[in-house]
């Protein structure tokens, strides 16, 4: 990649201030990880930008080609580490598709619950850190209070607090305890009250609206053309959610929920505020889903018995390939796996939502102020673990 060219004094005849190259990151408070953005600045205005990724590259996909199908599950946790369950789900479903098996009914419903809980936890981080990006520190602590409750809930069946390794090919790793479902429902009631608090402190704040409305406008066509997914796409007014449109888990077909889209409430459609508000409303939709799902969890196996027997030796899916995508908190996560009948895939690829959403950054930044740049990076809600993989 080429470095950005700066104007020198003779390039422009009219009055201007000298341009400045500014390195935003990789060690910077608001790049959400080790993202480096090379900015060309004219005073406070960004004139060009180039996102430089790869600081967290861990060869996750290549590792997938060297370990067994089951062993790769914890590696997917570490891609988008804020939504570990959702990553595991995408991987497990892909492997199941390759094997031609389906998890038992109880496992399906449990997967819905843990994934939606994890979606709330992930959106809470997006909400909290967005507040910090805007200079409001307090919402972050409120968000972490509720995230803590979710982590405690997910710890009970899985044993992990952040990286669960819970959803596995064939079902889920462990059964839930007796009191788990009532506790999840109690959390939902509590969370609804807290959610109203978040809106009081941040969403409806005039300064916050002033900082995010009409900033980083991503028009509908552009969002589609650049392959944006998830809240970034829906913030631009495209009603596309895999849970509704391509249900990858059949329970989603039987659940009632809305797909919130941006409406341009405080300005242009597809601005930072719309993306933010889509995430906020998605949390409430997740609560709705969890409430319904908790009523429907049947008794029975939580893991496919045949597959469990096979776990003693590494899984050997038949020759073939499979691609499956899931609606992660950040967008569509897809896994492409090719098997030649061995114990590990010969090709393993991931289509990451953060990676694709990040690609619009260079197109959105020019013309903004540096403070808007921070707002835009925050509103794309990227996780560098998954961008770099």
């Amino acid at each position: 990649m080429e470095a950005l060219e700066l104007y020198t004094v003779d390039d422009r005849a009219d009055l201007y201030t000298e341009e400045l190259k500014l390195n935003l990151g990789p060690q910077h408070p608001s790049t959400h990880g080790v993202l480096r953005v090379e900015l060309k600045m004219d005073g406070e205005i960004i004139t060009a930008s180039r996102a430089d990724i790869g600081y967290l590259h861990r060869c996750a996909e290549k590792i997938g080609e060297n370990v067994s199908y089951l062993q790769f599950t914890p590696y997917t946790d570490r891609m988008d580490y804020l939504a570990a369950c959702n990553n595991e789900l995408a991987w497990s479903l892909t492997v199941e598709k390759l094997l031609g098996v389906e998890a038992p009914e109880r496992a399906q419903w449990l997967r819905v619950i843990v994934c939606e809980l994890n979606r709330i936890a992930s959106h809470l981080i997006a909400f909290g850190t967005y507040g910090i990006d805007m200079g409001a520190n307090t919402p972050f602590f409120y968000a972490f209070r509720e995230r803590e409750a979710i982590m405690a809930l997910l710890e009970r069946p899985s044993g992990g607090r952040m990286l669960y390794n819970y959803v596995r090919p064939g079902g889920v790793a462990h059964d839930i305890d007796e009191a788990w479902l009532p506790d999840v429902l109690a959390f939902c009631d509590e969370f609804e009250r807290r959610w109203a608090e978040y809106n009081q402190i941040l969403t409806t704040n005039r300064i916050f609206i002033g900082r995010t409305a009409n900033v980083g406008v991503l028009p509908r066509e552009m969002a589609l053309a650049w392959g944006c997914t998830g809240p970034v796409l829906r913030g631009s007014g495209v009603k596309w959610d895999l849970r509704r449109d391509v249900p990858y888990l059949w329970p989603y077909e039987e659940l009632e929920f809305d797909v919130p889209v941006g409406e341009g409430t405080h300005g242009t459609l597809g601005d930072c505020w719309d993306r933010y508000w889509v995430r906020m409303r998605e949390m409430m939709e997740s609560v709705r889903i969890i409430r319904q799902a908790c009523q429907r969890v049947p008794s029975g196996d939580f893991m496919d018995k045949n597959l469990l027997r096979q776990y003693k030796t590494p899984l050997k899916p038949p020759r073939g390939e499979a691609y499956l995508r899931c609606e992660n908190p950040r967008g569509e996560l897809g896994f492409y796996v090719v098997s030649e009948g061995g114990t590990s895939p010969i090709r393993c690829r991931a289509r990451g939502p953060s990676f694709c959403n990040l690609s619009v950054l260079d197109a959105l930044l020019p013309g903004c102020m540096i403070a808007d740049g921070v707002a835009i990076i925050g509103s794309l809600d990227i996780v560098l673990g998954e961008v770099d993989r």
Binding site: L20, L22, H28, P29, S30, E44, G131, I132, D133, M134, G135, A136, N137, T138, F140, F141, Y142, R145, I201, L202, N205, I207, F208, G210, R211, M369, I370, A371, D372, V374
Partner: protein, 352 residues
């Protein structure tokens, strides 16, 4: 001051020059002590206020009771930190900047009347002196930003310069309102006037607006949220003091809290009656009562500043400028004109 000189001349039998020098030394030493202790307390208070707003406890261990010695421990740590100057920094300016910044604010303390007669220099242009000397701070900040040889520091310094210079104007205009009513720039006189005629905020509606304008403008002047752009953490890492550490950094910190104190004290003195209380004749009581009343009011406004900081998001540069020039400044002029009309007609808003 005069009392001290008299004391030294009479008790120690020294000449007038030596007496003056001694008096200066005592005054400045005690002020320095006061500012340092106050800053430590305010930093501890800020951490506690922030923590309790954020469902935390804040410092709880150091010193035993609610971590009261946390700031003391931090100060000791900062004192012993390695003295780092970036290789390509302009060493002299880098070294001088914290001193310039601190001196500007510290000089303002000289003219503050803490109670009747408790004042180092009874400057007859007190209001003017304090806002003038406090703006010396900008020079130090620009020096720091420039000398650091860091782009983030430079951004912070330029923002600070633009912001503070812009907000001095509405702040100065708003301060004219009490001056018009009382007819004096001497802080002691303004306080005495309020003792006789009641708090200035109750005088007419324009004074309330002027107090609000001054408070908002002083937030910007102290670089406090939502106007903390010069040190905006999520944008500029730490702004103009990005490259500073150890004792030099702590001087910027000290300066921020000291200027918070000065601006809060000005709000209390000029608009909220200073050391006076309604229905109670504080002047008839011992001097410490007046000091306590004034400090209580000051700390209330410091608390409001902290409250705002931990509640509000930060404005953008253009929004800060727009707020200053499009809203605060015109409304400041409206307040001046309105107050002038009220005063010339002898109108009162409330029967006080």
């Amino acid at each position: 001051m005069e009392a001290l000189i008299g004391f030294f001349t009479a008790q120690l039998h020294v000449g007038p020059t030596l007496a003056l020098s001694l008096a200066y030394a005592v005054c400045i030493g005690s002020l320095l002590g006061f500012v340092t202790v106050y800053a430590m307390f305010a930093i501890w208070m800020e951490r506690k206020v922030a923590a309790h707003m954020q469902v935390r406890f804040g410092p709880m261990e150091t010193g035993g009771w609610h971590g009261w010695a946390q700031s003391l421990a931090d100060a000791v740590k900062l004192l012993f930190k390695e003295d780092l100057i970036p290789r390509d920094a302009n060493k002299v300016m880098f070294w001088m900047a914290p001193a310039v910044v601190f001196c500007g604010v510290f000089a303002g303390f000289v003219a503050i009347p803490f109670a009747v007669g408790v004042q180092i220099a009874d400057v007859n242009l007190g209001v003017f002196f304090i806002i003038a000397i406090a703006s010396v701070e900008v020079v130090g900040v620009i020096m720091a930003g420039w000398a650091s040889n860091s782009k983030y520091a430079l951004f912070g310094a330029v923002r600070e310069a633009a912001q503070v210079v812009s907000y001095e104007v509405p702040a100065g205009v708003a301060l004219l309102v009490p001056v018009i009513i009382t007819g004096s720039l001497r802080l002691g006189d303004i306080n005495g006037w309020q003792e006789a005629h009641g708090w200035l905020v109750l005088r007419n509606p324009f004074v309330i607006v002027a107090a609000l304008i001054y408070f908002i403008a002083s937030l910007a002047g102290c670089k406090r949220a939502p106007f903390d752009l010069p040190e905006a953490e999520s944008e500029l890492v730490s702004g103009f003091h990005t490259e500073y550490s150890g004792m030099r950094f702590s001087f910027f910190f000290l300066e921020e809290y000291a200027s918070m104190f000065v601006s809060s004290l000005l709000v209390a003195t000029l608009f909220f009656g200073g050391w006076t209380l309604p229905f109670i004749n504080v002047s008839a009581m011992p001097v410490p009562v007046g000091i306590v009343v004034l400090l209580a009011k000051t700390f209330f406004f410091i608390f409001v500043q902290m409250w705002l900081r931990w509640t509000l998001p930060r404005l953008r540069v253009d929004q800060v400028m727009a707020l200053g020039y499009k809203y605060l400044l015109p409304w400041g002029f409206v307040c001046v004109v309105g107050t002038a009309i009220f005063e010339s007609q002898g109108w009162r808003w409330l029967p006080v």
